[in-house]
Structure formats: structure tokens, C-alpha cells
Amino acid sequence: MKTTIPLIVAFLSGIVLIFAFFFNPDRVFIGAAQEVVLQWMTIISGFALVLGVVSILRVNSAKVKRREAGWHYKLATVISVLVMAIPAILPVSSKTFGGKIFYTVFPENSASLFGTGTGSIYDWLFNYVDSPMMETMFAMLAFYIASAAYRAFRARNAEATLLLLTATIVMMWRVPIGEAFLRLFSTQLPDYINMFLMNGFNVAVQRGIIIGAALGAAAMSLRIILGIERTYMGKG
């Protein structure tokens, strides 16, 4: 039963979406059924997010309790999740059922601090803590890329040399000083790079990758719909 019902749900959902693609939703039942399936998908995805939050809290708080190595970081994770999430989900007005209870304890003029709107605690934390931290982490890549390029980017064989030359040309072409430098050799050179390198060789390779990946995804979807692939249920 635990296996059969998910298999039936997966089969029906998949079949409805496949067939709905070919029919007008205003005229044919299956077209309208697609809308219902898609709304369910959105709702289930919302629950999946909640499940993720519960999971991260459970796993990390258990490690904090056991004082495992690096428990300080786990504690920081738990605190961060709670500090960011709680003000965001609190009601922003006393008109709702939850709001009526909440605002008997807290003053109603603090309502703008809750929710996710402009000026809320969530908004402030996002703009002044989370966003700068994420930007900093990403910016540090420039340093690692420079170091890695110096140590590892070697013309060891023909393929590596080709990659190295292409990367150098594209890096030059993607910045104004590089473009100006390339134009010293020919005024058309940057346009040729765009035309032949990016819209020529690059497109040919990318299409192969995209079509290959799409065929793989279609095959995997078919396996799930037909119940051959069951790893999503934790079974091999």
C-alpha cells in the first residue's frame, strides 16, 4: 500500500500533464484537470519547504545537544533560521485570527516589523545581513579563480591548449579594455569572436548538451511515471 498509492499518484499526475499539453483547457476536461494538478504541485512544494526547515532544525539542534564537533556553527544555523523566519511568519495585522491573539500580547503599532514587507525585521536582516554575506562569499571566488588559473590552467595537451586559448580570447572580449585591445589587430575581431566563437562553436556544443540533457530528463520522467524508477520513494 505504501508503494502502490504513490505509484498511482505519480502515474496519474504525469499522464494528466502529458495529455493536457495537447488539449485546449477551455474545451477538454483533461486540459482543465492540468490546472488542478499544477495547483496541487504548488501546495505540495510549499510543504516540502516546511519539511526542509523542520529537517534543518531537527538535525542541527540534535548535534548541538550532543555537543558534537563544530556545534557552535550548528547553533548559529538554528538561531539564524529562527530569527529570520519567526518575524516573517507573524501576522502583520490584527484582522486575522492569529493576529487577534498575537496583538493582545504585543502592541499593534509594531505590526510593520512583522511579515516580509519593506521595513520589516525580515527585510532588514535580508538587506543588511544576509545579502552582504552572500555577496561577499561570491566575490571571494575572484581570488580563488586567480590563484587556480595561475596554478592549474596549463597547456599540458592539445585539448587543454584549445581551452586555454578560447578562455583567454573570451575573457579579453568580455571587457571593454580587452575589446579595445583586440580592435588593434582588426576592427572586426570582437564581432568575429561573437559570430564564430560564441554563436558558432559554442552554440553547436551547447545544443548537443541541452538536447542530451533533455532526452535524459524525458527518459527519467517516463521511468518515474511508469513506476520503473522508485528511488524518490527511498527504494532502489
Binding site: 511579515g115 590563484s147 571587457v175
Partner: protein
């Protein structure tokens, strides 16, 4: 130990220092080389310009704060162009962490410049989980997927949304993305529902997008900070991307120099060892 052995064994902190200096110098000395417009950027700009004034355009904020330097200038330049043409802008995000907040902050800032009013000229729908389902769902009813906007106001109470019910009412989708969501805007919304999609992506994602531009499925493309700088130039307002071009130019040249030096050292050592 030869000079090349010494260079090969250079402490990585010197490389970090050189990179820091190359990024820092342009903040003091403005070099400003002219930004050349690529065909793909021009195509996107022209596509938006060719839309009738007051058309409805959906602008997506599908990026995380980590790539703000590349993506935010694209959104800002796009908003300037859209508001200048009195377009009605619907913003949406498929990024749970911050996407709608970025959309709110950036759109309000540019809307103030043009004297645009929330609910009349622009609306922020916010975020809903599962972007594939959301993209399909918007085809039949925006209100079914987003009963209220990001701040919780029911769509029924927003004047602008009274005439915008589904993709049929949207003339163009301008997707700014740092991940695979733009692929779905193309493969679902453009391919299945016929809405023109154009957009900007990070430099690292741009090569993949060229194939969609070539196929006519993506109407124009902005690639990375350079693409954003090109759009700023087209729109006629220099922003952070144009200013960032100097730092990126020096950083690229430093990396190229490091690759050249590293390879000379590699071949010199190989030659010496026979």
C-alpha cells in the same frame, strides 16, 4: 632553484593581493573604456522598444543576492526603459531567499525616479514554490497562483491587475536570472504559450543561452556585467555595471597575465627537466 621554480612556488597571498589591488585601483582612478554593444543586447533593447507604450511586461527577479553585481544593474536598466515607455510592470521571483525583497527594493527605487505608483503602474507578485507549476499555472490564471501580492494585498483590490489575468495579457517577459529558471521561461512560457522572452543572465550562464537566441526562442541576451553595462548604455543611464567594467577589465587582464606567467614557468621547468 631557478627563477621559474620560485615563480611557480609563489605564495598565493601575493596573487590575492594583486587581485585586490586590480579591483581597488578603478575605485580611485576612473579609466572608462567605451562599452561596445553586442548584437544580442541590441536585439533585446529593440524588442522592448518596439512594444506599444503602456504594454504589460513581466520582469522576473530570479537571482540570489550573491550575483547582485551582475544581475541587479540589468533589472535597474530594464525598469528604466520600461517606466520611460509607461509600461505596466509585473514583477515575480522564483527565488525564495530574497528574490521578492530585491524586486520590491529595486522596483520601488526606480519607480520613484519616474513617479510611478504601486498598484497602478507596477505590482510585485512575490514568490510561490515550484516554478514549473507556477509558470504553467500563470497561463490560465494569475490570481489562482497568486491570490495576493507580495505584501498580502488581494489581487482583486489592485487596480492594475483587473485587466491582467494570464499570459494573454502580457506582451513580453524580461527574465533576469542567475540559474536555470530562464530555461523554463523559454521552454514552458515561450515554447508552449508563445509569450516572447528576453533576458539577462550571469556571465557563467551566458554561453548556454546563445543557442536559444540563435533559435529565436530567446529575444536578446545580456551576458554578465558586460551585458548589463551595454544595456545601461542603450538606456542612456550609466550605473554600477558601467563603473564595474574597469575593475572587471583589470581583473580579467590579471588572470590572463597569471595564466601566461604560469605556463611560461611550466614550459621552462619541463624544458629544463628534458
Amino acid at each position: 632553484m631557478t627563477i621559474w621554480d620560485k615563480i611557480s612556488a609563489i605564495d598565493r597571498r601575493w596573487i590575492y593581493l594583486a587581485m585586490a589591488i586590480s579591483i581597488f585601483i578603478p575605485t580611485i582612478v576612473v579609466i572608462r573604456f567605451p562599452v561596445e554593444i553586442t548584437v544580442e543586447s541590441r536585439q533585446l533593447y529593440d524588442a522592448v522598444e518596439s512594444l506599444p507604450d503602456s504594454s504589460v511586461v513581466m520582469l522576473t527577479f530570479d537571482y540570489y543576492p550573491s550575483t547582485l553585481a551582475e544581475t541587479e544593474p540589468m533589472s535597474i536598466a530594464a525598469l528604466r526603459q520600461l517606466f520611460r515607455k509607461n509600461m505596466k510592470v509585473v514583477t515575480i521571483s522564483h527565488i525564495p531567499l530574497g528574490g521578492p525583497s530585491i524586486a520590491e527594493r529595486v522596483t520601488r527605487q526606480i519607480a520613484e525616479e519616474f513617479g510611478k505608483v504601486y498598484g497602478i503602474d507596477y505590482v510585485n507578485l512575490g514568490y510561490k514554490a515550484n516554478y514549473v507549476a507556477v509558470m504553467h499555472g500563470l497561463a490560465s490564471s494569475i490570481e489562482a497562483i497568486f491570490p495576493s501580492d507580495w505584501s498580502g494585498t488581494p489581487l482583486k483590490e489592485i487596480p492594475m491587475m483587473q485587466t491582467i489575468k494570464c499570459y494573454r495579457d502580457i506582451k513580453f517577459i524580461f527574465s533576469v536570472s542567475d540559474n536555470a529558471t530562464i530555461d523554463y521561461w523559454i521552454s514552458i512560457v515561450n515554447a508552449q504559450y508563445g509569450v516572447p522572452v528576453g533576458g539577462g543572465v550571469t556571465a557563467v550562464s551566458a554561453p548556454k543561452m546563445y543557442s536559444f537566441v540563435e533559435a529565436g526562442q530567446l529575444t536578446g541576451l545580456l551576458g554578465g556585467m558586460k551585458g548589463a553595462a551595454e544595456y545601461e548604455k542603450l538606456v542612456g543611464v550609466e550605473g554600477t555595471a558601467t563603473r564595474g567594467m574597469d575593475a572587471q577589465s583589470l581583473a580579467h587582464f590579471l588572470i590572463i597575465a597569471l595564466v601566461i606567467i604560469g605556463n611560461i614557468g611550466f614550459f621552462a621547468t619541463k624544458h629544463r627537466q628534458g
